[in-house]
């Protein structure tokens, strides 16, 4: 594939490949898109509803798109720029100004979304062509290598910027609840995103640094959540006392998982961790005397602000948060106080995770994790104990998952096994992989993309998951190492003084 050159491709070859793409889409879509089974009252009239016009549109769009891409590869930049722009403009205008025009309905899709996709792709192609027209020499550097180096450069740039932008982003995050536009919904989404950022950073230790593919990370999240819930309910301990315990319990669970999988790597490790994640969930589901089974645990105490509860009317003689603050500065009770407080708690926990990871990368144990990821046999030949090194990675990564779990329990006030299904592990892993393994800022970006955007774009309803899937496939094709995968050495000889 990489051997494609900018040298001219024969014209009939271009036509053949374009026709093939159209045919392929036709074949794939003819049953899936072309025939729709009616339900309800419409089914009595006609059980099947045919949409072959849409299939033809899809096939034509695919053939045309492929034609454009091939022309671009053949070096015909000007026609592609013009053609792409024309198609984008035409479809956009038709979609915008003539939603019910019979000609538009015959040529384009009935629904708006795929039409906008066509517009976006055509515009993208036109922009690519236009860009190459102006920067001709870069077009010679092609294929996967060029893209890798450009993206790696981008990753390096972002990491350099992140050194200065990181504190700025943190300041913005701290200021977020004070903004005038910060309503309850926004802060709830922010809490969710920061929770996933923390989970991503925790899993990054195991997957990104130590290279141990863990598909059951949500198990540690669950252990943390249930540890807090059970300790708080049975012993009446408050959140801040339980938090370290939840982390320690989860770390123990990490060691428990670590022992049997010490010799496993790659696919085999992934399968066992996947099984472990499910085991924890099934134990929670079935041990109902202890965990409440499928009903879960309710009435988990909410966190207090250094002993001051967030209640509207505290018992006589005691203070709640708002009455206490009112001693200095009169404020009204608001249910948002607790939400904002929770937001700051998770922000602090996430920042601890981040600082810890940044620090430990520069310590011998962190370097040993990375070395273990690179080559375990070489590690053994250098006297590094692979058992201890792996177990600490599992334990520390799990511990942060446990902290996040305790936070989850106190935020929801309710835990049940449903919250800890495999899809959670998959999403957290997707955040790490998408962001670029080992990249801290990449996790932030990926969590915002994967958690924040879908929450904001709930209006897209059924297209949401399609967009999610398409984004993942795109990343795997074009940037398998992740968006911002770029590794900076943990120490440099040049900055260590001595002769240059």
């Amino acid at each position: 594939m990489a051997a494609r050159s900018s040298a001219s491709v024969p014209a009939n070859d271009i036509l053949r490949q374009s026709a093939l793409a159209g045919l392929l889409v036709f074949g794939l879509a003819v049953a899936l898109v072309g025939v729709r089974i009616q339900d309800g009252s419409a089914a009595a009239l006609a059980p099947l509803h045919f949409r072959f016009d849409d299939v033809l549109t899809a096939a034509a769009a695919a053939a045309l798109g492929r034609f454009g891409v091939l022309l671009l590869r053949a070096g015909l930049h000007a026609p592609v720029a013009a053609g792409g722009a024309a198609v984008a403009l035409a479809v956009a205008l038709a979609q915008w100004f003539a939603p019910a025009h019979p000609l538009r309905l015959a040529l384009l899709f009935d629904v708006a979304m795929p039409n906008w996709l066509i517009v976006a792709f055509a515009a993208f192609l036109a922009l690519c062509a236009a860009w190459r027209l102006r920067h001709a020499p870069v077009a010679v550097m092609q294929g996967a290598d060029a893209r890798e180096s450009v993206m790696d450069h981008l990753g390096a740039q972002v990491q350099r910027i992140a050194r200065f932008a990181g504190p700025l982003i943190l300041l913005l995050a701290i200021a977020l609840p004070l903004m005038p536009f910060a309503d309850r919904r926004l802060i709830d989404i922010a809490i969710l995103v920061v929770t996933y950022i923390m989970l991503g950073w925790g899993l990054n230790i195991v997957v990104g640094l130590a290279g141990l593919l863990d598909l059951g990370y949500v198990a540690f999240y669950a252990v943390g959540a249930y540890s807090y819930a059970l300790l708080a309910q049975n012993f009446g301990l408050n959140f801040w006392i339980c938090l370290p315990f939840a982390g320690i319990m989860a770390a123990f669970a990490g060691v428990l998982l670590g022992f049997p999988v010490l010799r496993l790597r790659g696919d085999y490790l992934a399968i066992v961790t996947l099984g472990f994640g499910e085991m924890i969930r099934i134990i929670l589901l079935n041990w109902y005397q202890f965990t409440g089974g499928p009903n879960g645990l309710t009435g988990i105490p909410r966190p207090s602000f250094f002993g001051l509860p967030f209640t509207a009317s505290p018992p006589e003689g005691t203070h709640s948060f708002h009455t206490f603050v009112s001693l200095i500065w009169p404020i009204e009770f608001s249910p948002n106080h607790r939400v904002v407080f929770l937001y700051y708690v998770i922000l602090a926990l996430a920042m601890i995770t981040n600082l810890f990871t940044l620090r430990i990368r520069r310590l011998p144990i962190g370097r040993a994790w990375e070395a273990l990821r690179e080559d375990e046999i070489a590690c053994r030949s250098l006297g590094i104990n692979p058992t201890n090194t792996k177990l600490t990675a599992f334990a520390i990564g799990a511990g942060f998952g446990g902290f996040a779990g305790a936070f989850f329990a106190t935020r929801q006030g309710f835990v049940s096994p449903e919250s800890f299904s495999f899809i959670e592990s998959a999403v957290i892993l997707a955040i790490v992989v998408l962001g670029g393994m080992g990249s801290q800022i990449g996790v932030v970006l990926a969590a915002v993309l994967l958690i924040g955007l879908p929450e904001f774009f709930r209006d897209l309803h059924q297209y949401r998951m399609i967009a999610f899937g398409a984004a993942m496939v795109g990343i795997m094709l074009w940037r398998p190492a992740g968006l911002l995968a770029h590794r900076e050495p943990t120490l440099r000889l040049s900055t260590q003084g001595g002769p240059p």
Binding site: F356, R359, I360, L363, P364, I365, R367, A368, E370, A371, R373, E374, D375, I377, A378, C379, R380, S381, L382, G383, I384, N385, P386, R487, P489, T490, L491, R492, L493, S494, Q496, G498
Partner: protein, 273 residues
């Protein structure tokens, strides 16, 4: 010097099912000597190394290592302990660098155990105590020393995987030396090197032997290297030791010539070309 030799291998046998890869091999290696282990392909040289460095548990036999750090029976030790406690370092036939880490980091990882202790098993390091910073500075100094020896100082901060082949070989030796070994096992260090690089390698190995005064075990097919720098040679064929001695003796040994060149005309088996 009447002290016990650095390494004493006695009746070492390694069986894989029906295949006897190393068959009753005994030899010694001295501190301050380069001992070459040669033999045709499949003679069991790398298997012998894997036994010595703990990657295989030998079927029978004894491997005793004695130096100022104490006496060790290698066959009873776990792989990583052989490197950490008994101070045996090795390189690999197919280079095994940490390719995604920088050249300098490769050399720092080699000093893991020392740095672990200095960082108070991570705790002191986590809080940025001075004791760890000093230890790290010392580790970087040692790394710089070996980078200077192998001529990679200018490339210390690039990924090890992007070095040219010959540099990777030398970096692997430098990494092994950063563990401060008493016995250095080199598995075909000259494989794939050009003539100039081979010359550099010879100089490096004699420097290691003479200046750092450690024992070197060397598997090598390049007879130019073997004959010019080794003090003793052990010859293996089909897992058995067929000759041992100084280079001049081994070069003239008829068994060795037969193992390398096939049977001579007129011998009992008849000419195997």
């Amino acid at each position: 010097m009447t002290a016990a030799p650095l390494l004493t291998v006695e009746h070492l046998t390694m069986r894989f099912g029906g295949l006897v890869a190393v068959d009753d091999v005994s030899f010694t290696a001295e501190t301050g000597n380069i001992t070459a282990i040669i033999g045709p392909n499949g003679a069991g040289k790398t298997t012998l190394f894997n036994c010595l460095t703990g990657f295989y548990a030998p079927t029978s036999g004894r491997m005793r290592l004695a130096h100022q750090g104490g006496e060790f029976l290698l066959e009873r030790m776990e792989g990583f302990r052989i490197a950490a406690a008994a101070k045996v370092a090795r390189t690999f036939q197919n280079i095994r660098l940490f390719r995604g880490m920088s050249v300098l980091e490769n050399l720092i990882v080699a000093q893991h155990n020392e740095l672990m202790r200095a960082s108070g098993y991570t705790l002191a390091g986590l809080f940025g105590l001075g004791i760890y910073r000093h230890a790290e500075a010392r580790a970087v100094e040692r790394a710089r020393y070996w980078l200077d020896r192998v001529g990679l100082t200018a490339r210390a901060d690039i990924d090890a995987g992007s070095l040219p082949y010959g540099d990777q070989r030398r970096l692997e030796i430098a990494r092994a030396m950063c563990t401060e070994p008493q016995l250095l096992c080199l598995d075909e260090p000259a494989a794939g090197l050009n003539a100039r690089e081979t010359g550099d390698l010879n100089a490096l190995l004699t420097f290691i032997r003479d200046t750092h005064h450690i024992g070197v075990l060397l598997i090598e097919h390049d007879m130019g290297v073997v004959m010019s720098i080794s003090d003793r040679i052990v010859v293996l064929d089909y897992g058995r030791k067929i000759a041992e001695g100084v280079p001049a003796e081994v070069r003239g040994n008829p068994d060795v010539i037969r193992a390398y060149l096939g049977e001579e005309q007129g011998s009992e088996m008849g000419g195997a070309a």
